[in-house]
Subunit: 591 residues, 2 copies
């Protein structure tokens, strides 16, 4: 059975050596000294490792069940949810006004990673609530905030997002769910939504659904869409629960993974809903929710890879098989441990260098969000908006790939469910699909984000990378980082140039390369992170830091990423530069 | 629910336009004219599509169950197995002397692909029998052949391979199963074997286990290993079934996929076994079995990708979502079909160009086996021996990757088991693991096959590619094939050169790049196949062939592979040329 160990040292390194948060000018960061963040991370890590991780396999094996409209979560989930609630973990980075602790988003992200690594399916009940809260915070009325937020922050109530319908997911302009205005100012919501994570369950007193629907007069396509709050139980004026609303779970899906989370078909049958934000401006509000959700999904990608890696590493050290070709390492045993073999080492280094780079990328992204929210820094806002599809698309693709790599270390045992490695891969697979399938992330990046604000944000990113490379000019120790980063960023710019030159005449020339561009940019971002981490590690070493082995391993791991992952950039560029012709050569009928 | 359509036209193209089998000097090939092969493929395709494919999801859902030592296969498997048997499909390419039809291996391979695409788990009952038959044919005594083969060829009895034990899979030198010589010349076999596919089931009267065990006096490690026949029921002198042998299934595994196949723990408790071949030479005999099995597993990789691709394509043509950015293609509908979008097209072309290239590679490999077996061509034998780890490792890695890509086309529906796309990925996953995990294939390729016979076979392969490139010199139509093939094969040679220069001093310098080399070589092989297929298609077009659209699509698909897959070669070379240092930099303790 897999185990989980919170990567506390790595997280502290990112917060304090890489991001140097206490020295940052972001309000709230000054309080985050190492002992304070260490105490929070340790406490959260305990909950993750001791309470959530042991339930991961239970959730996978049992799944959820629907009986007479009630969804029952797996054994132990209710107790664990109570502990999550009692610890106030959901409110960690939410406003004190509604019962939260008001800490920065970067702290919520670090805590979130541990919960997701330990038990992804379980954590979704809380994760979707967090996203729903953010949406109400950004777009709800004061009355709505007062009515819903305190109970959602405390996890007495949970939240959901309702977008997809059977005939449309990506293309929301086609949704059929209707919202009819009522005399009292509410709306009657009617329609069917599918793939609703945590749509129904037994963990909370009430569930607050955020639902996209079409109200009369909004016109065709996405323009006609509005966002509504539809509570499972209506809330009385005094805050107590009133009558059951006309919304019900019609079915739970049998899925490849995340069995512990109930994925529901939700039927709205004239349910009472309350408009959130402006009429017919629902897409805008929904994007608030989706941006946060996409960061969270990118995090799921590498968090599953982290959990899988930890177990693959332990197995590679433990399992005796074959001999080191350069001489026995365990001469008194019947064989050497797997980790002596170069190809096993390659596999483990692929995983390790990806996970640590990805974590830095997401923590940096969370820092940009804090900067944007807490200081109104529009450059940071533009940058994180540019990075969102890369974080979501690249980290979930690679995260899944790494769970498969980790499974491979186990040989045949990796394929047997009892060992738990299959679950990491099956669970991680969904992250490539939901909150906008990764092809849509690539489209968002190339078709929208590159050109947004006249291309200002992507130019700023190029400048940032250029400055990073320049900063290490003449530093021999950093050459193994700065040089590959420079080459990769040139390839990224060349790809962008190709899109500009050809995309005007033929948009397909750019869109045929969108997926490769997303991956190329992902590698450049992780290359940037590794360059900064290496520099931070050298700085700490030079300053006489105590944990030299940890810092030296950090540098060696980064060097691996630069040497062995960044060569993918040239491949992606070559694919991009073939343009639309090979991709679009066949008529649909000729397939 | 997925469907399956046998790719008859593609197969006929390979047999007659690419391999030109009737014009070949291989005994038995002259009879294989297009109408004869067409009739066989059509008949086999009918069984695959109409009988086996509908049981694929049933097998996944129900799995096998063990009750009182008896394993029950899923509903319908028994009836389908009867039809497979009645059709004589198992004996298609087996000697007439034992009841087979004596057709070439290439025909067995084509038929096998369809069975595997339709229902991989089901087909394993037959596939392992086929492998066991080959081993007895190659190493058994005349009496053993007479006793076992007729019933195995007819599928009245099935076969298994027993190698792995709980503490060792790859490292067979550690096996503990013992064989004690008995007074009557038989052996008493005692030990536990795990991961035994089709180890116990209700489809056949008897099961013939081939078991690796250690008999006294053989010395340490793999040298002491011998191979034994251990029948479930002993066979009387008159061929009737005698007493039940002391072998039993102790458990069936709960796996990620191939649920329809029983993966058994087999307990041997002084079971009666009969030596196959020479005492203490069991590894040699086992390799016969494993080489055929490895080709079959490579076939599983692309055959699952084929089935997944067919369904992804159908969904992409059917599902309406979004609009073609260059102008609506379905203006009267609510949206355009998915296939209009460049990134969906890219995904489908990745799949299609891989599957068709992989099929050519495996058919060519089967042709080399025929040439080796039927004409004693040692060059062909050396070449297929070199190619075996590439076929197994590269095609199963890529095959799995493509089933995941196919699943992605379905968005959220791809993750729901009801749609059947998850099963293709879960089933395909095992092919990367069994019959030697792919890391072992890479080790076999770089550590053994490259240098075998003084490197003669790999040099012959380089010459073959060089000759292919040269043959198209000055042919403008073929430039899109010959040029990328030339570049890729230079990269492959450069990688080989790197191993020679550095591997002598430090074997880890070669072994750290073994996995990348396997992939690099796989791309060169598929590039070679596509070059030949393109030439064959042009030749047919020039000769006025009727099905112009099919041939033109073949060329366009090949052009995609050359333009969009071959750029991976440079990436693999760059990774290889970083050598052992980044891979081995960390001490095991520093991970």
């Amino acid at each position: 059975m897999p185990t989980y160990t919170p990567p506390l040292k790595d997280m502290q390194f990112l917060l304090h050596d890489l991001l140097r948060i206490t020295a940052s000018d972001v309000p709230g960061y000054a309080d985050l000294d190492p002992s304070f963040t260490g105490a929070i991370l340790e406490e959260a890590g305990k909950l993750a490792a001791e309470v959530l991780a042991p339930l991961n396999a239970v959730g996978d094996r049992q799944g959820c069940r629907l009986e007479n409209g009630v969804v029952y979560t797996p054994d132990g989930f209710k107790g664990a949810f109570g502990k999550l609630k009692d610890g106030g973990w959901n409110g960690l980075d939410l406003p004190q006004e509604f019962g939260g602790q008001g800490l920065p988003y970067v702290m919520g992200t670090a805590v979130g990673e541990m919960m997701v690594s330990a038990n992804m399916a379980f954590n979704m009940y809380q994760g979707l609530t967090h996203g729903a809260i953010s949406t109400i915070l950004a777009h709800g009325s004061d009355e709505q905030k007062a009515t819903y937020l305190p109970k959602m922050v405390s996890l007495d109530w949970t939240g959901t997002m309702n977008l997809t319908e059977p005939h449309c997911g990506t293309d929301l302009g086609m949704i059929r769910t209707r919202a009819e205005p009522q005399a009292d100012g509410s709306y009657a919501i009617t329609g069917q939504k599918i793939f609703i994570s945590a749509g129904e369950h037994d963990l909370a007193e009430n569930i607050i659904h955020l639902v996209l629907a079409k109200a009369p007069g909004g016109g065709e396509g996405t323009k006609g869409i509005s966002l509504f709050i539809v509570p499972k139980f209506l809330v009385n004026a005094d805050g107590s629960l009133g009558r059951r609303n006309a919304v019900a779970c019609g079915k739970i899906e049998h899925k490849m993974g995340i069995h512990g989370n109930a994925t529901c078909v939700m039927n709205y049958d004239g349910a009472t809903g309350f408009l959130v934000g402006d009429l017919h401006r629902g897409m805008r509000a929904m994007f608030t929710m989706m941006n946060e959700a996409r960061l969270g999904v990118g995090l799921q990608g590498y968090a599953q890879a982290e959990a899988a890696y930890q177990n693959a590493l332990a197995y590679a050290k433990d399992r005796l098989q074959g001999r080191d070709v350069t001489g026995a390492k365990n001469p008194n045993g019947p064989a050497d441990p797997l980790i002596v073999h170069p190809d096993i080492r390659r596999n483990l280094m692929d995983q390790k260098s990806f996970v640590e780079g990805a974590r830095a990328f997401v923590f940096w992204g969370a820092h940009l969000i804090d900067r944007s929210h807490r200081t109104g820094d529009t450059a940071a806002e533009g940058l994180i908006s540019l990075m969102t599809p890369v974080i979501k698309g690249f980290l979930t693709d690679k995260g899944f790939e790494m769970t498969v790599a980790a499974q491979q270390v186990f040989g045949g045992h990796g394929y047997i469910e009892e060992w738990g490695m299959s679950q990491f891969a099956r669970d991680a697979r969904i992250a490539m699909i939901y909150e906008g399938a990764n092809g849509i992330q690539a489209l968002d990046l190339v078709g929208r984000k590159l050109a947004s604000d006249g291309g200002r944000h992507v130019m700023a990113f190029f400048e940032m990378v250029k400055a990073e490379v320049k900063a290490h000019d003449g530093d021999a120790r950093m050459a193994g980082f700065a040089e590959p980063l420079k080459a990769a960023s040139k390839q990224l710019q060349q790809a962008g140039m190709f899109f500009m030159q050809h995309g005007m005449k033929n948009p397909n020339a750019a869109l045929s390369g969108s997926y490769d561009f997303m991956h190329l940019m992902g590698h450049v971002c992780l290359g940037l992170m590794w360059t900064r981490m290496a520099k931070a590690a050298y700085t700490a070493l030079d300053a006489g830091a105590a944990d030299r082995e940890f810092l030296q391993a950090k540098i060696a791991t980064g060097r691996y990423y630069m040497a062995r992952h960044l060569p993918a950039c040239a491949m992606h560029l070559a694919r991009i530069e073939t343009g639309a012709e090979p991709v679009m050569a066949l008529d649909a009928a000729a397939f």
